[in-house]
């Protein structure tokens, strides 16, 4: 019953006017970002990090969380109406969603996407509340060796779930780890790889790197393709939002399956919303009696991925709140937001900051409720936004990013660094390297190094400690097994199949 007391406390926090306002702003910004193609969630959260300086920590995190799951709602709108995914997570939604829109059934598609998201959001909220406390207890049994192994597992998951070459994904993680070493050494205070540049002495800020690799690089890449993206907007007015009874009957099991799959993939380190939507779509296609309907406007193809991405977006908070380990790049930025406010993420947050944790969990439910209103009756407004041409949008994003980075430390050098990382990101895209594992590696780097050093110090330099401590051994065994499975040819083919879904 502690759970209900906690939730009640959370709702009391979340219903305070300021937090309600923050939740609304987060949901609105999230929807906006989701709707507009060319701005990703990661870049937006990075952009808004400095803005949260002046806010109380609870409000700040509620807003940032709102952006993340709000974007999952908004992304579906663009996918369905324009056939361009507004967000990486709604790439698969475009396949059947846009087909439905062409048949004049845009209304039901949007409605099912929102209903599925709402249902998944509610389930995920409960799941966070239920799983939070026991996982925190488990985390307390973790020593440095276990932490290190857990992070290895998380990074391996990121590799397994990343798109494309396994080797490249691992290389990106190690590159991220190396970048995280720049700056002062935690133990000895020695300046590492800083080349006597005072601004580097504190290390590379990952908001800077994230903004460069995800914000600037994305803009440059989009400019390559020509600023005016081909937008075959469904012009006819959207009539009849209500899905028919048959639609509901068809999509209910899909929503349920999507929610379960998404919740699981969200909790797993390295997972997150993108992979969840792909997996859910593939699962539906496999289970369907008539797989040929997919791609021609099957409502399950909208319901399942949209539920899955929203569930995953929310359950990915679980490892962050309980273990203090960010499972994906957006959560990595949430760590940044917490550190800005002097909160160290980890098991102790649940005990020391009940306001923050339970307030945020409760706000997710409220946010989902707000989102369904923002997205369904107000869909027309968002569609109008899509008519803003990219040639005006991209300089605005550049300026907004630049001011944002500058304001973090009032350091012009940070802006230049972000620009440099923009070029690095552009280069990564051109050589088919994925930037997301890089950011994850960069965030986990200091934590990993610290725990590795501590574990070895305790064991007096004995590396076998990672294998003799049972929990750590299990975690490492799982990571090794996963890596082996990924490299095996049969599974590789399957994995590639999941990802090529997006290209047709």
């Amino acid at each position: 019953m502690e759970l209900f007391a906690n939730l009640a406390h959370g709702f009391a926090v979340a219903f305070s006017p300021i937090n309600l306002l923050m939740c609304l702003i987060g949901a609105l910004v999230g929807t906006l970002v989701g709707v507009l193609p060319g701005i990703g969630t990661i870049a937006t959260v990075a952009m808004l990090l400095p803005i949260t300086f002046g806010l109380p920590p609870v409000g700040a995190l509620i807003m940032l969380a709102g952006i993340y799951y709000g974007a999952q709602y908004g992304g579906s709108t663009t996918s369905i109406l324009v056939n361009i995914p507004g967000e990486a997570t709604s790439v698969v939604t475009a396949i059947d969603g846009h087909a439905m829109a062409k048949q004049g059934r845009a209304g039901p598609a949007l409605a099912i996407a929102a209903i599925g998201s709402f249902f998944a959001g509610c389930v995920a909220t409960v799941l966070i509340a239920v799983l939070g406390a026991p996982l925190t207890k488990l985390a307390l049994a973790f020593g440095p060796a276990e932490y290190f192994s857990l992070m290895v597992l998380g990074l391996i998951f990121a590799v397994v779930l990343a798109k494309g070459s396994v080797l490249k994904a691992i290389a990106m993680i190690v590159f991220g780890l190396l970048l995280s070493m720049v700056g002062s050494d935690i133990e000895t205070g020695a300046s590492r790889m800083a080349f006597n540049i005072p601004e580097l002495a504190d290390g590379l800020g990952f908001a800077t790197v994230a903004m460069g690799v995800f914000g600037f690089a994305e803009i440059i890449r989009n400019l390559d393709a020509g600023a005016e993206m081909n937008r075959d907007l469904v012009q006819q007015k959207i009539t009849g939002l209500m899905p028919t009874r048959k639609d509901l009957k068809d999509s209910t099991p899909a929503i349920l399956r999507g929610t379960v799959l998404g919740s699981i993939l969200g909790i797993l380190p390295g997972g997150g919303a993108v992979i969840a939507s792909f997996a859910a779509y593939t699962l539906e296609k496999k289970l369907a009696k008539d797989p040929k309907r997919f791609g021609r406007g099957a409502i399950e193809g909208v319901a399942a991925p949209e539920s899955a991405n929203n569930a995953a977006a929310q359950t990915s908070f679980i490892p962050l709140l309980t273990l203090g380990i960010p499972p994906n790049a957006v959560m990595a930025l949430m760590v940044g937001a917490m550190t800005i406010h002097g909160i160290v993420p980890g098991p102790q947050v649940m005990q020391k900051q009940p306001d923050l944790v339970w307030g945020m969990i409760a706000s997710m439910w409220i946010g989902n409720l707000m989102l369904i209103i923002i997205n369904l009756p107000l869909v027309g407004i968002w569609v109008r936004l899509l008519r803003v041409p990219y040639r005006l949008m991209f300089p605005s994003i550049v300026i907004f990013c630049a001011i944002g980075i500058y304001s973090v430390n009032n350091a012009p050098v940070d802006v230049i660094l972000a620009g440099v990382f923009g070029l690095v990101g552009y280069w990564l895209i051109k050589h088919d390297f994925e930037p997301a594992p890089l950011l994850l590696g960069m965030v986990l780097g200091p934590l990993m190094e610290e725990n590795l050093r501590r574990a070895l110090l305790i064991s007096r330099g004995d590396w076998s400690v990672f294998l003799t401590r049972p929990l750590s051994a299990v975690l490492l065994a799982i990571s090794f097994g996963l890596l082996l499975l990924t490299v095996l040819p049969a599974l590789r083919a399957k994995r590639d199949e999941v990802f090529t879904e997006s290209e047709n």
Partner: protein
């Protein structure tokens, strides 16, 4: 016919890749040289261009081989950082460049990507070479960077090998206009925000960035840029309470 044409195409391609790698091998030295030119005008501290040039050339041509021979002979005297750079970074990349001459690259995207990543890793190895290593069983400051640097060298070599063994996409097309103007806009903003203030730097940067697309209409861009500047000038300092200079310093004083 088609085959010979294809062959000659890869041959010319290889030469340009090799030249690129050779430049990459001495990129840090060139960068330091260009940087050092600034010291003539009194910008920044550091060695003068003549010292930089002489020191790097001797390190590349004579210092490093001498050190190699010395090390082989059991001589363990401390090497200068320039010699280390030549040994750890430049020579391996030169070696790769020479090897590339005799290779058929089947996927330039992977091969070139792997080699550049390897260069980054080697550079990191050099940058952390002055740090302390293991002290007994406890890690020194340099242990982890060297460990991950070494791992990255191995991984990137693997990626480059895939580029040689399996067929894949070639180099993708880089455009210059977008990256150039966006970078100039960012650079201008960074340099101008302190002396010129938010209003001027935001608007000018907006216009520079807008130049990056050939679809930009100037009047429209200027209007939007002005609106955005006003919006930011209200949002950041007043609504969010983040202090930053608003107007050019010489106007305020």
């Amino acid at each position: 016919m088609a085959e010979t044409m294809g062959h000659s195409a890869t041959a010319t391609r290889n030469t340009s890749v090799v030249i690129g790698f050779c430049l990459l091998a001495i990129a840090p030295q060139i960068f330091e040289f260009i940087w050092s030119i600034g010291t003539i005008f009194g910008w920044g501290a550091g060695r003068g261009p003549a010292t930089v040039l002489i020191s790097h050339v001797t390190a590349l041509v004579a210092g490093a081989p001498a050190a190699l021979i010395g090390a082989a002979g059991g001589d363990t005297k401390k090497m200068s950082s320039d010699v280390l750079l030549a040994l750890i970074y430049s020579y391996p990349i030169f070696a790769v460049a020479i090897l590339t001459l005799f290779m058929t690259i089947r996927s330039a995207q992977d091969y070139v990507g792997g080699i550049i990543l390897m260069a980054l890793a080697l550079f990191a190895l050099w940058a952390s070479s002055d740090l302390q290593g293991m002290r007994g069983f406890s890690f020194g400051a340099g242990t982890a960077p060297r460990m991950f640097g070494g791992l990255l060298v191995a991984l990137s070599a693997g990626i480059a090998l895939t580029g040689l063994m399996t067929d894949g996409p070639g180099m993708s097309h880089y455009s210059w206009r977008g990256p150039l103007f966006v970078m100039v806009a960012i650079l201008f903003f960074a340099l101008a925000i302190r002396p010129l203030g938010l209003v001027v730097s935001a608007f000018v940067s907006f216009m520079i960035a807008a130049t990056g697309s050939h679809e930009t209409r100037w009047v429209e861009a200027a209007i939007v840029g002005a609106c955005l500047t006003v919006g930011c000038a209200i949002l950041f300092p007043y609504v969010l309470g983040l202090p930053m200079p608003m107007f050019p310093r010489f106007l305020v004083q």
